[in-house]
Amino acid sequence: MNATNQRLRLLVLALLALAVAACSRPSPRLSEVPARQAPWSKECVDELARTPVQQNGRVKPLSVWAAFTLYSVHGRRDLKYEYGAESSPQKVTLEPIEWLLDVWCYPEQADEYPLFRIENVAVLDALGIDNEGQKQGFEFLSFHQAAASFEQLRTLGNEYAALDAGKRSEVQEHIVQLWRHFREYDNLRSTLDPLRYPIAVPDAELQQLFGGQQVKLAELLAKGPEFRKRIAAMGDAVVSDDQMVVMLDLLQRMFRFDSGAALVPPLSAMTPGGVGEPEWLYVGGGAELVLREVEGPTRDAVFGLDRAVNGADHAAIEASLMRYAEAVITAAAPLPGAAHVDLEAMYYRKAWHYQSIHWFLFGFVLAAACWMFPKSRLLWWGSVGVTVFALGLLSYDVALRCVITGRPPIKNLYDTFLFIAAIAVLVSVIAEFVLPRRIALAVAPVLGALLVMFARLFEVSKGEDTMDPLQAVLDSNFWLATHVTTINMGYAAGLAASSFAVAWVVNRVLRLSDVNGKEAKAMLRITYGITCFGLAFAVVGTILGGVWANDSWGRFWGWDPKENGALLICLSQIALLHARMSGWVRDAGFALWSVVTGMVVTFSWFHVNLLGVGLHSYGFSSGLRTAVWMTYCIYGGTALVGFIDVLARPKPAPIARLAEDEDAELVPPPLPAKS
């Protein structure tokens, strides 16, 4: 047990914590050379990204709709492909908004993109798609390939969707998801269909007017007044002309077409009843207004989109898209609900929480360095400073979300990750100031980085806009601000406390420092302090939840899984504090119990949402299951190893210090006094 060995252990630990698996993924190849090879210009992408659109009940930037659709169907944040000669391929990476523009303006090309992720070749077998057997990694199916097996996909997709979610096999679940993604993509892809496909023109005079037997919607609109005049002149003759009835019926259907999102702002902010936000129009609805001779931005938007869909060359397409974007941005500016679109586009472009990950990791590196060079006050302040800066970025991110949605920080499961990360880091940093032993210094940034990474994973795997409007029952800023915030502070503190307990167990098992040394004692002290802090919030939060439930559902307590989860945290922590007070548990017992409490927090925080029962299952996501069980394994494994260690070595000897060895310094001495 010499000191050199210790340094090695420290190093390994630090490296393990830092190891970010850099998995390089090969880009799938396109079989043909794509039509669009010139990249979208930055100007065009930036302008389109901040163009408002109304989707899923709220006005949001086009880029946000594109991003969450891509996350959902593709399971990644960007889309990669390559083409050209195999020896020197052209590699392309598309941002979500670029992908959306391809889907709209170059659909034949976009349909060939490697889009739907297939994790199990049995899915391909079931759909009758040729494949080369299970490979390492994922395969991607293009829309074109999936559409070739459309009948099979639809039949199986609907059949399996009718089964109970819990009873589906892995392959069945996969097919259900694939069918859902297929429709989601198709929905996005057909947004502009009314502008894309021509209508047959039966009337000779109209044929003359439009210069052919077919007309596209925009050409018809361009000659709107003449068209209306002709229809009016025909009078009753329209009804007796079957072909004319078919044409007008088709036109009507185009006007009512509601695939994708509502792209055209309404003419006024008026709503029925005078409350809420006005409803936007789909592109067909916009076209109808144009036919009624509405001028201005509505006309510009519709014609801009038309030229983008039917454009001759890339430059013309970009110019038309810009025309559409400009028109919509102008028209949306005075509308309620569209005030924060720019801010939201900026929020996603900057991704402050993503940036915070890097700073947290840097803060951890500095903390690790601080362990190596314990005498340096500069390093200590450096690490604290960097971690606090990262916390600032994260808090700014959360604050922006509040401004954009006009809500308290937590509205859904995704928000809890960011909020809990911020609180856990804050609590840990405070702990470092109370007991400056460089323990909390290292734990805080690791917690922050891990939780924000989880948030990112969750965001993509769930693939749902995290700012979408709330269910009626949650629509209460008062309760969101009180109950939801306090209970999540309880979760955050519970996680932080268990992290310090994990640190204690790791320290004991690996003999990084004396079991009864100051480091170990400080870890326990911090665990204890944060447990008390967290318990206060967990108890108050749990009861406030009951009070809210009493006001919305008419009962204070209903043994609902989420309520039970919160109660479990309280019970576990209260029992722990009483066991400690009565002398039933001491250091080791306290630490191991605290690790187990971490599992309880995990159960309550998101596992209960996976159970699929109860009133709180609005956060369901099957992708979360792996994360939950991994967390259980880490906590459970730590507790088990710690327990065995305590049984095997009830009284570990103090670590030998080699006085003459300079490495002895590795057991960090106290921080030098402030000068």
Partner: protein, 463 residues
Amino acid sequence: MSDQSASADGPAASDRIAPAAQVAQAERPAGQAPGLGARLLGLIGSMKLSVVLLILLAALTWLGTLAQIKHGLWQTQRDYFESWFVLAELPLSWWGEPLFPDANGEPWALVIPLPGAYPVMALLFLNLLVGGMLRMRLHARNVGILIIHVGIALLLIAGFVKLEVSYSGSLALYETPEAGQGVAHRQYRASTFVSFHDHELAVSKPTGDTIEERVVPEAYLRRAKTDRVVVSGDGLPFRVEVHHWLDNCRAMPKGPMVKATTPVLGAGDGPGLFLSPVDVQLEREHNQVGCYVTIVTADDQRLEAMLVSSPWRLPQDDTRTPFVFEVQGQRYGLDLRRVVYDMPFALQLDQFIRREHPGTMQVADFRSKVTVFEDGAQRQAQIWMNNPLRKGGFALYQTSWGPQIQGRPAGGPPWYSVFEVADNPSDKWPEYACYVIAIGMIVHFGAKLIRFLMSSTREALSA
């Protein structure tokens, strides 16, 4: 699992509160054995008992959460949380997949006998009262804890009162139309509501202006699943034999291809009707119970009928027709219904308002404008999500509405609004308990933190 090494810190003596048992011991003159009463009191108030009880309650809560997946909330609540004893089940799963599944895909479950939440919470309350309040040493340091314990006690009492005294149910009303536009059988105003889960058999006898009702609770009738349960009463010239009780059923015409396992009635000039059993729902309120009855008069005349309770959350029409028959020139009615409760006031739905998030089917807000009639006076009120109407000891909550379609119903029946009605004397107590506990926590943990910040322990650990 305890680390015996001597430590400078440990659970430092300074922040430990002597448990009641130790206090009792300290006060006893040396050499004298404690009496049985004192020892019992010491045990009941001991902190170790608290730990055991808290762990038991946690185990019940955890297993009771998992049990809901298979057994539903209602059943689990009765088995785990309102019982004296339970054979709790731990369904084994790994990575979300069931372990050793049976034919239905249900995982193999480990059976763990546990006391139910009822005795655990009762003992916890005693333990709290004795150890955490009565026998706790009065000391400035304990004030916060005492306040917290008072709050928890209040919370437990509120729960007990709710469980024992409170009852709740549902009330659905149609939107009142313009004057003269009303439809006779629709309920626009009511001063009663119906239970969620419990049913009763009502025998009614119209006597002039009033109706005399006798009710038999469901608990008495459930034996009719396999047996014939006889219901009779003083002054009733007949007895009712209840049989073929069904926990969830629908009345169905007996077609040629339909195989009925229950009696088919009225087959004379049509296909006949029968009660067709339906899978019992885990959410118990969704079930419609039903039964067959044979009415036997004094002169041994027999009349067969079948009864079925009303669907969940649909407006209870005030002319919900009982099965009507005549014995000795007197008309009687027989009805199997959700238990009816009275309110000291009447409620009328004036208008139901609903708003969706723009361009979606997702409801952003739904609320009811109502008029409350009481003692000849009337007043207007609004009930919406998170904003119940509290009146006369009752609280009315907006829970649902129908028909669940988009836009205003045209032509067909108008909108109806569904309220939950609860009579709960302890309605507001948890809220007060919450304030008390919050204050106690701030006092206790705040003081502890300050003491620690100024303590020598901290200096020793940071130095």
